[in-house]
């Protein structure tokens, strides 16, 4: 007979020991602190400006923070991204730069804060007040083009580009030893917010329907009791004349315009000169003039600020590549220590930093072979975002090139220049095209 009151066999299961009081109270305090603090932390990209936050450098601020040695390359960790690419004879691997520390990332965030908040009209007397400093702009207010964000681009044997997403701009070329190298451009961002509306209409005429039922009192006379037409007609009179909620409206209220006046652009094409924003020594001849650094910085300021954490990482020939430019320079040069390795510089500039829907923006691409070898089959590809519409016949090239335009399913377009002649060392060229902001 087994004694039921006997204690449980200690080998079957151990009774858990109670944690010390300091441990339990610590866990409770930590839990409370975390739960309370999580909701107070703003999401990423919605930085909370603080009172002691200083204004960003001037928009022409090439002189500001000149001494900082921060490379404008991406800080995404995407190791072995090319492994899954259907790439043949293509090399595009990641740079292994160390991501910046947290305080540097905060500096990058600050760089996209506009300098000061100056309401242009009677700001001092603004009845609703002025905020100093102003909050940081958000990504959805900008249209960006350039770089190689997201899936890395790669070239197939038939010269088809894979992984070229919207807003990407890359150049690829063949080296003398039979390799294909891809180089992205910098990213240019234009402030061009566009708005939409979601509408809802509440039909309050439902009340009238109930009120009119009183009208049935008039039909209670024996002569009209069996007359059904009167009731039907009474209800039909109060059907809503317009009930848009049942008719899902189309998103489109207006189709694309057939065309607009282009008299200024016609003159520009005949003249063939560079616009003021791109009439720089680095665009004309590919050499950097110190006196024009500020102008280059202004034309590509948004590119620099956005490229800080969005531009791709590069390596060439399975070896680590180094960004050879400072933070304030528009173009990004990727090279290797071996001086015989090829190097291509691709700079992208925009004619305006802001644009309203309907306005045109001119983009300029300057490419240079700054290596010591000749490059063959140099191809520059730009995948426009869906809100940028290529202006027909606006593409120009300083070198003999085949230009093609390939519309995409999402409404975007891919522009492609194939430079016919090999690009000798030290040689470069200019590509220009215009886009209409939709």
């Amino acid at each position: 007979m087994i004694n039921l009151d006997a204690t449980t066999d200690s080998t079957t299961c151990f009774t858990p020991t109670r944690a010390p009081a300091w441990f339990r109270y610590g866990i409770a305090a930590a839990t409370t602190l975390i739960l309370c603090s999580c909701r107070a932390v703003g999401p990423v990209g919605n930085a909370v400006p603080t009172a002691n936050r200083t204004a960003a450098p001037s928009t022409t601020g090439l002189s500001a923070d000149e001494s900082r040695d921060i490379m404008p390359v991406a800080y995404r960790n995407q190791p072995n991204q090319t492994v899954h690419q259907p790439v043949v004879q293509a090399l595009y691997m990641q740079d292994t730069h160390t991501p910046p520390p947290a305080f540097r990332q905060a500096e990058y965030q600050q760089r996209i804060i506009a300098a000061g908040y100056d309401m242009p009209v009677d700001c001092q007397a603004c009845a609703c007040g002025c905020l100093h400093p102003r909050p940081a702009p958000q990504r959805d207010e900008f249209l960006c083009d350039g770089g190689d964000d997201g899936l890395a681009a790669a070239v197939r044997e038939d010269w088809h580009l894979d992984g070229l997403g919207q807003e990407d701009t890359v150049a690829h070329y063949d080296t003398v030893d039979g390799r294909t190298v891809i180089t992205p451009s910098n990213r240019v961002c234009v402030y061009a917010p566009r708005f939409g509306v979601v509408r809802r209409e509440v039909d309050l005429h439902a009340y009238a329907r109930y009120e009119m039922t009183v009208g049935f009192d008039d039909t209670r006379t024996p002569a009209n009791i069996d007359d059904p037409q009167r009731a039907i007609a009474a209800q039909a009179d109060f059907k809503p004349s317009i009930h848009r909620a049942e008719n899902p409206p189309s998103l489109l209220r207006e189709r694309q315009q057939l065309g607009e006046l282009d008299r200024e652009q016609r003159a520009a094409e005949v003249d063939g000169s560079l616009a003021p924003y791109a009439d720089l020594q680095v665009i004309r001849a590919g050499t950097i003039d110190n006196e024009q650094k500020a102008l280059v910085a202004r034309a590509s300021l948004a590119a620099i600020t956005w490229a800080g954490d969005q531009s791709p990482q590069i390596s060439i020939d399975s070896q680590q590549a180094h960004a050879a430019v400072g933070q304030r320079q528009a173009g990004v040069i990727y090279h290797q220590k071996d001086p015989t390795k090829p190097r291509l510089r691709l700079i992208k500039l925009a004619s305006a930093s802001t644009a309203q829907p309907g306005e045109e923006i001119e983009f300029t691409l300057r490419f240079d072979n700054i290596g010591s070898q000749v490059m063959g089959n140099v191809t520059i590809v730009d995948h426009l975002t869906s809100r940028l519409e290529y202006v027909p016949d606006s593409a120009k090239s300083s070198l003999d090139a085949d230009f093609s335009l390939e519309p995409q399913s999402a409404g975007s377009a891919v522009l492609r220049w194939e430079i016919k002649a090999p690009l000798e060392a030290g040689q470069g060229g200019i590509l220009q095209f215009r886009c209409k902001v939709l």
Binding site: V41, C126, C130, C144, H205, E254, A268, Q356, G358
Partner: protein
């Protein structure tokens, strides 16, 4: 008998299992809380049917400090109509066709639309509530206001007793359709029955402002503070002038070359 032993042993283990479950639940709660803290700043707790001002005031106590931010807003009316903002216990004289004002996030602003074309004597009193702001480059705040459009159809619908809610949102560039449009026109989509327009706008972009048309109409000569929501101060700007320099900015030298080769 053996069963009795097993049950006793299980009873002791059950305490251990319960302890493990509690710890697992605690860890899961912590992870969920952290994950929720990273959620995008959408209006999960708001709805388009909330009373005017509720969303904006809740925005002030959430996320980023927005109190005092002066956001330019361009209210466009049909050609010839006059829009006026409330001041004190009355309305200002207003401007025709378009009114450019600086508004804050939080208060509810009452406007009056009069001189509607082909409808003399008709008055509509829409309200505007800001829920977010823009951050244009310095000096270009007035070039990029939040546009709010009053169409003649909706003004007439409001005058017949219907209530219209328009949520103006900033399009997400990644979701924006490749559709050309005139600068003065604003496309709109209708929220399906049962849908919250604010939630729909949240999916399509970032809600910026809420326009409400219809509903209350003041008695003649009796405009009270409740109807005007306290008449929060409004900064009225001059009508914008055409910026011809902007459209020809980057072609300036080429035009000059063409004229003076």
């Amino acid at each position: 008998m053996t069963t009795e032993r097993t049950l006793r042993a299980f009873d002791a283990c059950r305490k251990l299992v319960v302890g493990k479950l509690l710890r697992a639940a605690l860890v899961g709660l912590l992870l969920c809380a952290s994950a929720q803290a990273q959620e995008p700043p959408v209006h999960w707790l708001h709805a388009g049917v909330m009373p005017p001002g509720a969303i904006g005031r809740q925005r002030l106590i959430r996320n980023v400090p927005l109190s005092g931010f002066c956001q330019p807003v361009a209210i466009r009316a049909p050609q010839g109509a006059r829009i006026a903002a409330a001041a004190g216990s009355a309305f200002l004289q207003g401007q025709k066709d378009q009114l450019l004002v600086g508004l804050s996030i939080g208060p509810v602003y009452r406007f009056r639309v009069t001189e509607i074309p082909e409808h003399p004597g008709l008055e509509v009193f829409p309200t505007v509530e800001l829920v977010d702001h823009l951050s244009p480059p310095p000096g270009q705040e007035l070039r990029f206001p939040i546009p709010i459009e009053l169409t003649i159809d909706e003004l007439l619908l409001a005058s017949t007793g219907r209530f219209i809610t328009r949520v103006v949102y900033l399009e997400d560039p990644a979701l924006a359709p490749a559709i050309a449009r005139k600068h003065e026109e604003q496309p709109w989509i209708e929220a399906q029955p049962g849908e919250d327009p604010l939630a729909v706008a949240d999916h399509l972009g970032r809600p910026m402002a809420i326009l409400r048309l219809g509903g209350r109409v003041p008695l003649e000569g009796q405009v009270d503070d409740g109807f005007l929501y306290g008449s929060p101060p409004v900064q009225v700007y001059d009508p914008p002038k055409p910026d011809f320099a902007t459209t020809t900015r980057f072609h300036g030298n080429q035009i000059e070359h063409a004229i003076h080769p």
